[in-house]
C-alpha cells in the first residue's frame, strides 16, 4: 500500500481530493436546505440523514486534502474560508433544489455515479482513499437504493409527478457530462493507480440510469451537450449564494467556535 505523496505530485492529489470533498459538501448543503420544508415528516428526516452522510464524507475528503496540502488548513478552513473560484465540486451538485422532483433527480444522477466511483476507489493504491471509499460506499449504496426507488415511483406515478420528473431530468441533463470528463488531474490519478479514469464509469452509469428510466417511464434526453467548469473553479451563479449562507457564521464572526 502507498501512503500520501508516493508516485503523484501533492498538488494533483490535493486538487482531486477537493473535487471529492467539495462535491459531497455542496450536495450535502443543498440537501440540508430541505430540513423543515420536506413534503412529509418521514421524507424530511430521510433527507437530513442523507445530507449528514454527505457532509460527513466531505469531512474525510477535505481532512485528507488539508494534510496533503500541508499548509495548515484543515477541513473547517477548506469548507468555510474558501471562495467560489476555489471550489471544485461538479456543477450538478450546486444546482438549486427546485421542486422535490428536481432534488430527487439530481440526487439520483449523482448517486449512480458516486456509487460506481466509490466502488472503484475501494481498490485505490492509496490506503486513505480506499478507507474513505469503503465507509462512504455503504452510505451511498443506501442513497442510491432510495433515490432510484423514488424516481421510479414518481416517474411512473400520477400525471403531475411524471411531468415534474421528466422536467427535472430535462433541466439537469446538460450537467451530467461533467461527471465523466477527464482532465490532466484525472489522468495522473488513473496512471498512478489511485483512481479510475472518469470515462470508464460512463458505460455502467448509462446502463443503470437507462434501466431506472425505463421503469420510471421517463425519456432520456439525447443531447450530449455538457456544461463544464465546476472542477476547475468556474461555477454557476448559484454557488456564491449557497456559500454566502453556508459560510455566513465564519464570515461574520471569524474564528468562532462552540
Amino acid at each position: 500500500m502507498m501512503t500520501q505523496g508516493d508516485n503523484i505530485a501533492n498538488d494533483i492529489l490535493f486538487e482531486w481530493l477537493l473535487r471529492r470533498g467539495d462535491t459531497a459538501l455542496i450536495l450535502g448543503h443543498r440537501v440540508s436546505e430541505w430540513c423543515g420544508h420536506s413534503p412529509a415528516l418521514e421524507e424530511d428526516i430521510a433527507l437530513a440523514n442523507i445530507a449528514l452522510d454527505l457532509i460527513g464524507q466531505s469531512r474525510l475528503w477535505l481532512g485528507y486534502a488539508g494534510e496533503v496540502e500541508d499548509r495548515g488548513r484543515g477541513e473547517n478552513e477548506l469548507a468555510y474560508l474558501r471562495d467560489t473560484w476555489d471550489f471544485r465540486n461538479i456543477l450538478l451538485a450546486e444546482q438549486p433544489n427546485g421542486d422535490f422532483g428536481t432534488t430527487l433527480m439530481r440526487q439520483f444522477l449523482i448517486d449512480v455515479w458516486q456509487d460506481a466511483l466509490l466502488e472503484a476507489l475501494k481498490t485505490s493504491a492509496d490506503e486513505r482513499i480506499a478507507e474513505i471509499a469503503v465507509k462512504a460506499g455503504k452510505e451511498v449504496a443506501y442513497h442510491l437504493d432510495r433515490s432510484s426507488d423514488l424516481v421510479i415511483r414518481l416517474g411512473d406515478g400520477t400525471p403531475e409527478s411524471h411531468w415534474r420528473m421528466q422536467d427535472a431530468l430535462d433541466t439537469l441533463w446538460p450537467y451530467v457530462g461533467e461527471m465523466f470528463a477527464a482532465d490532466a488531474v484525472d489522468e495522473a490519478m488513473a496512471a498512478a493507480g489511485l483512481a479510475p479514469d472518469p470515462k470508464m464509469l460512463k458505460p455502467g452509469w448509462e446502463h443503470t440510469v437507462a434501466a431506472v428510466f425505463k421503469q420510471a417511464t421517463l425519456t432520456q434526453p439525447q443531447s450530449d451537450f455538457a456544461h463544464k467548469g465546476g472542477l476547475t473553479g468556474r461555477h454557476s451563479e448559484h454557488l456564491g449564494h449557497l456559500l454566502s449562507e453556508m459560510q455566513f457564521l465564519q464570515r461574520a464572526y471569524p474564528g468562532a467556535t462552540w
Binding site: A40, L41, E42, E43, I45, N49, D149
Partner: protein, 94 residues
C-alpha cells in the same frame, strides 16, 4: 385522491436474540417505503438490526372501556406470580 399516506406501526429488534419492540408509527404509501422510512426515522442512532412494519389498520386493540373487566381480576391473584419459590443461586438470573 386521498392525500394522506396510511399509518404503519414500526417494530425494531435492537439486537440478535431480543424481541422486536414497538417503537412508534409513521406514514408511508406502501410496506416497502414504510421499511425505508422506518430505517430513516427510527434507526438513525444504531437502534436496530431488524425492522417490522404493520399497517396500523390491521391491529385489533382491546377496548379501554373494558379495562376493569379485562384486567382488574388479575390484580388480587398474587399466587399466579411464581414468587414463592427459592431459586438456587446456580440458576443465575431468571
Amino acid at each position: 385522491m386521498k392525500k394522506e399516506w396510511p399509518l404503519w406501526e414500526v417494530f425494531i429488534r435492537g439486537q440478535h436474540g431480543l424481541n422486536h419492540r414497538h417503537v412508534g408509527s409513521l406514514h408511508a404509501p406502501d410496506a416497502e417505503m414504510a421499511i425505508r422510512n422506518a430505517r430513516d426515522v427510527y434507526t438513525r442512532r444504531k437502534e436496530g438490526v431488524s425492522i417490522w412494519v404493520v399497517p396500523s389498520a390491521l391491529i385489533t386493540a382491546s377496548d379501554p372501556a373494558n379495562r376493569d373487566a379485562l384486567f382488574e381480576p388479575a390484580t388480587d391473584k398474587i399466587y399466579r406470580h411464581p414468587s414463592f419459590y427459592d431459586i438456587p443461586d446456580e440458576v443465575g438470573k431468571m
